[in-house]
Subunit: 400 residues, 2 copies
């Protein structure tokens, strides 16, 4: 019989997107649905970027260099230098979204059966990339009680085997919002040096830190060959649909290998590379304004969540996600119920069940991820819905 | 020691792009280089497509549906119906280039160690996707003597093992320009039904057939579950840099699995999906004009090539490539020599050595692929260069 592949069967549905059909049905029934499930900001893509598209001067939509437009890479190197990351444009490969940078890293550094350690909860699509690449994810649990700080180094040591080739972090973290400290990064440096591992650092949310600055993996010294920076313009400039990211490393051998993967798919989209290039020239206060907006949203959502009975939300130091414990039996059931069976003043809220962000089965059953990507008014409405829902949800674990 | 992966080492450099540094050096020395190495047409992207970009009305460059904009998929289904392919928009997943459609197909249908049969010479990047997916390519040789027609069915039967999961064809073919007949397609149908195989049909060059029409894999009846159409707007609309393709199948289980790979990378680039959508509304004569242009280029290049001593170029029935036998010792050495050590009237020509298009080591040593993507004048100049080069190349095999 004609069959699809085992990896096709093993591939998880996105916890962020799998409930979309229920949201669509809710909207068809006339409900307003507040989308806190996905990191799609409501903040406008800067006009300078839109202008770059509208004024793009081309007769032929041509292939670019497989590593990306040289002019863009040169500008991007300037951007990195501005955040204390000393790279040359030849150490950058433009990728089709941060997604592709992650996939390239897995493919160029690991073989099928190799292992990659990732603190959980983690960005769910790391699972997908690992399955696509035939790589095994070994999760190390971080805990909501201490705000999802880096787990103790001993936990890493325990999990390292001869198959371990890399550690992945996301900093500031999606889904937890945790911002790794310099001390934590130094601990990671010791462990990757001791065990000859790559450190893949997904820094999509670099600018969005609310207490202190981000410490990049590329700020670590004397460990150049081990570090791969995975980046994207999606969140930084509210340009998720651009699909423009970057794979950055000073490891020459790895760059050469990754270039062959880049050649395989020819190039990243031309027009959005222009968008990325235009973004580098944004005024310096662009991030101040955006960050202030996200910070006020964070402050509101955390306050609203912690004011609900039985709810605990640690204060996230960065990114725009809040991982939250709810008094519920099953986050997947709850999030679907919110869309299928609940409404409050003709509105409801869409959340991402946390189970999909854990590699360990059974964890995250009473947690959800909320993306504070909507404005304060919408967040208040969404929190009104959640508060009302928790009072009547049949699977609530308090006040039954 | 820190090491990259075996697949990173095994990944081939693109035969189309690996000589780029030599071409860049030649240009720095002041030479004009005619690029017949890569399928990057000089034909303008239609104004309607450029207008769609310049007038794109958006405030936020948002994620699209992982399967692509619904409006685009609906239009694309219309396009397919117009070429006799009866698909619904729900049977289409928009991909980031045809490249991603091929990668998704390999990943969703085959597991590491599985085998895919491909008539050689074949589009070199199939090798890259196979290595990325851990899949083994089993080549079946087609021959320049009969214009690279489909090899006899017995050759396929001989190579089929318990590991064989799919056959890949490109029709019209890159790099050979061969246009598979309906009779050949019916033979393929029998073999995929008999052995329960998928047929991946890369139809990037559908419109560019010069004698008769293309017969799509999706024109085959009663074999819906086995067929995957892999497509792209790159060549059709001279929009290679858009990176917009499509994965099309009526196999529901395969669609569901492939959607999970699509969710993994979130979506294809938003702006170029608008480009793809605008393309569907091009006037009906768009392809007539473009095809007539390519046909006159084909006629010229084939005539010029066959007029050279010791050169044989079968007349390609489609696409815009000519696979050609030259009186040379080693195509890789020759193509590099053209860029490094040769010039004619301050000009030279860049070709793709055929070796990278064969899976069988040692084949294609005296063949090159020429992409007739430049105008008639440029083709004449390029042919003047090639003719002069073949008279003085140290590794020539005639008139030494």
């Amino acid at each position: 019989m004609l069959q699809i592949s085992n990896r096709g069967n093993a591939m998880p549905a996105s916890p962020i997107r799998k409930l979309v059909p229920y949201a669509e049905a809710a909207k068809k029934r006339g409900l307003t649905v507040y989308h806190l499930n996905i990191g799609q900001p409501d903040i406008e893509t800067p006009k300078q970027i839109r202008d770059a598209i509208h004024n793009a001067d081309f007769k032929i939509l041509e292939y670019t260099h497989s590593a990306g437009l040289e002019s863009y890479r040169k500008k991007l190197a300037q951007y990195y230098q501005g955040v204390g990351i000393n790279v040359d444009h030849n150490e950058i490969i433009i990728t089709t979204g941060g997604s592709e940078a992650i996939l390239f890293g897995f493919m160029a550094c690991l073989d099928p059966g190799d292992e990659v350690i990732i603190p959980e909860p983690f960005y769910a699509n790391y699972n997908g990339f690992a399955i696509a690449a035939g790589v095994n994810v070994v999760p190390i649990t971080s805990h909501i009680e201490n705000g999802f700080a880096l787990p103790p180094i001993e936990d890493f040591e325990q999990k390292i085997t001869s198959k371990t080739k890399a550690i992945v972090i996301c900093n500031p973290n999606n889904p937890t919002g945790y911002n790794y400290s310099e001390a934590e990064m130094q601990k990671l440096k010791q462990i990757i040096l001791k065990h000859n591992l790559f450190l893949f650092s997904d820094e999509a949310y670099r600018e969005f830190t609310y207490e202190g600055k981000q410490f990049s993996a590329m700020h670590l010294s004397d460990v150049d060959d081990n570090i791969v920076l995975m980046d994207t313009i999606s969140k930084r400039y509210s340009a998720c649909g651009a699909r423009i990211g970057a794979f950055v490393t000073k490891n020459k051998q790895l760059l050469d290998a990754t270039m062959k993967f880049a050649q395989m798919r020819l190039c990243s989209p031309y027009l959005e590379q222009l968008a990325g290039e235009a973004a580098i020239d944004l005024p310096a206060d662009y991030f101040n304004d955006t960050k202030a907006e996200y910070q006020s949203r964070r402050d509101l959502i955390v306050k609203r969540l912690n004011a609900m009975e039985g709810v605990f939300c640690p204060n996230p130091g960065g990114a725009f996600y809040a991982m939250t414990q709810l008094p519920i039996d099953d986050a997947d059931v709850f999030c679907q119920w919110l869309l299928e069976d609940f409404s409050y003043q003709n509105q409801t809220v869409m959340l991402a069940p946390a189970t999909g962000f854990y590699g360990t089965k059974g964890l995250g059953m009473n947690e959800v991820r909320l993306a504070y990507v909507l404005n304060l008014d919408a967040i208040n409405h969404a929190m009104d819905c959640l508060e009302a829902a928790l009072k009547v949800y049949p699977g609530r674990t308090i006040n039954k």
